[in-house]
Chain length 305, copies 2
């Protein structure tokens, strides 16, 4: 499971969180120890391996902490840890789907009939347990009968937009146009975009951390007075954290220099390949969560969890 997260076989902050939880449940089941202390140690070891897979998505750390807390509580109560962790991971998966539907419902109220919504990266069924966050909002609005069109950015370097988002929206029969990431600005200049909605990998009191490119799209949206939304479960909020403390993951140069196995740059060229970037909340019209829709100011002033 750790390898699946690291190599992005599983990607998308909510999917990563639930996958990590399932990984801990598996680790518990696979441990041969009957001694509770040793079983807990195996689970903690698995959690450390999981924790080291990717540094940025808040949901990963939230999920691991919740599972470890559950293991500790269950041990304290003398109940079956393995059974409890399997049930907890399954509960978290179910909760994710519910949260996405709530995000979709809150967000759909902000979408208008006739909107063309630009979205970045993939935030749908394949980034979550099911349904999606930003894409869940689009889905919900579309299913309500609003005539919504999508502009999907291809999302270099991993092309989640080109490969996954367009697949999901076209499967839903939502009219979709694919663009290179760089074309978001001119699409806005030409009046082709009425809303922007993206996901989030971590939201602090001051910033949204999301797939690299989000920040530049937010700047372009601001320039054109186009509403810019970030949609994510409340578990993505990191209200105790400073974004300056958040590690922005840098991934392998080959993600940039090789595309689907073909070399597209001189061998050995130096590469800077950040997976995420940082969008200040002053560029974000609102954050759409399963607990409701919040302005940047509201997020800044939320009570500590």
């Amino acid at each position: 499971m750790a390898r699946a997260i690291r190599d992005m076989t599983v990607r998308g902050a909510p999917a990563i969180g639930v996958t990590a939880a399932m990984g801990l449940a598996l680790a518990a089941k696979q441990s041969r120890h009957t001694d509770i202390g040793r079983l807990l140690l195996d689970i903690k070891k698995a959690a450390e391996i999981m924790r080291a897979t990717r540094p940025t998505a808040q949901n990963l750390f939230w999920a691991l902490d919740r599972m470890l807390r559950k293991a500790g509580e269950t041990a304290g109560q003398g109940r079956d840890i393995r059974e409890a962790l399997v049930a907890e991971a399954q509960l978290m998966a179910d909760e994710d789907v519910e949260a996405n539907h709530r995000i979709g419902s809150f967000g759909a109220d902000l979408m208008e009939d006739g909107d063309t919504v630009l979205t970045h990266c993939n935030t749908g069924t394949m980034a979550t347990v099911s349904f999606g966050t930003a894409l869940g909002v689009i889905r919900t609005a579309f299913n309500q009968g609003k005539r919504i069109k999508v502009i999907a950015t291809e999302t270099r370097p991993r092309l989640q937009g080109a490969r996954i988002t367009t697949y999901e929206t076209l499967s839903d029969k939502i009219p979709t146009t694919l663009i290179v990431d760089s074309a978001a600005g001119i699409a806005m200049s030409k009046g082709m975009v009425s809303k922007v909605i993206v996901g989030a990998d971590r939201i602090t009191r001051r910033v949204v951390i999301n797939k690299v490119g989000t920040f530049m799209i937010a700047l372009a949206a601001k320039r054109h007075d186009i509403p810019f939304y970030s949609a994510a479960p409340a578990t993505t909020l990191d209200l105790g954290g400073q974004h300056s403390d958040v590690e922005i993951e840098e991934r392998d140069p080959s993600e940039v220099t090789r595309i689907r196995g073909r070399q597209v740059a001189p061998v050995g060229v130096k590469v800077f390949n950040p997976a995420f970037d940082i969008t200040p909340l002053d560029l974000v019209t609102a954050v759409i969560t399963d607990k409701g829709v919040f302005s940047g100011e509201q997020i800044q002033n939320m009570p500590a969890p």
Copy 2:
């Protein structure tokens, strides 16, 4: 020659201009007509074919008009049109190299020792007759002994940055880092960029039209107070034109959906693939030409040509 321009075997506004001129010289040489009127008609027909290749780069139209004018003048003087057009195209090629060196010299004065210069697309030897515009500025500063580093954007969809710019800068031993286009924003947030310099395909009194993505990079530069320059020969200026009249070329969807022959998006997905975008001059610190360095305000108030 028209096909080479259309399929981007030759690309880069200055290279396109000189190639078009050479195309007209070839058309004149290949015409079998001895009658001057018929020869001129062949040349005009070739010019129309050339004119229809790509709609945005100013240099193409400038070059064709100059060659047609030369043909007309030469005919009026009873001199050898073929010989005159070959000489004129060769002169334009030589002038391009000279202009690039002058651009380099003017621009290098703006580059400081220790600068890390972000550039977009390719503006070097392979976008011009030789040396380059924006890349010529970087080259000149580097050759003057200034310690300049380059951040090159890969430049989707055609990857001119990944394939060509890095090849040119690494050949010159200029330290180079490759990024996806979307990473320009976070590179700036992290303080990795001290200047931005790009080329131009057309400059009107109000905007710079350049490779798609330029506008979003300019917005990010503005947000971080990073100087943003556009470098181009004065022949790129279109002082009589309104940018609203300029056609922004849209190219084939397959440039986005296929990368080096590999399909990367669902077959048949709709694509918006503009080759250029429009950067208002309020985002441009200065335009560097072979005639000198000009602020947006100076360009706005230049006398009509």
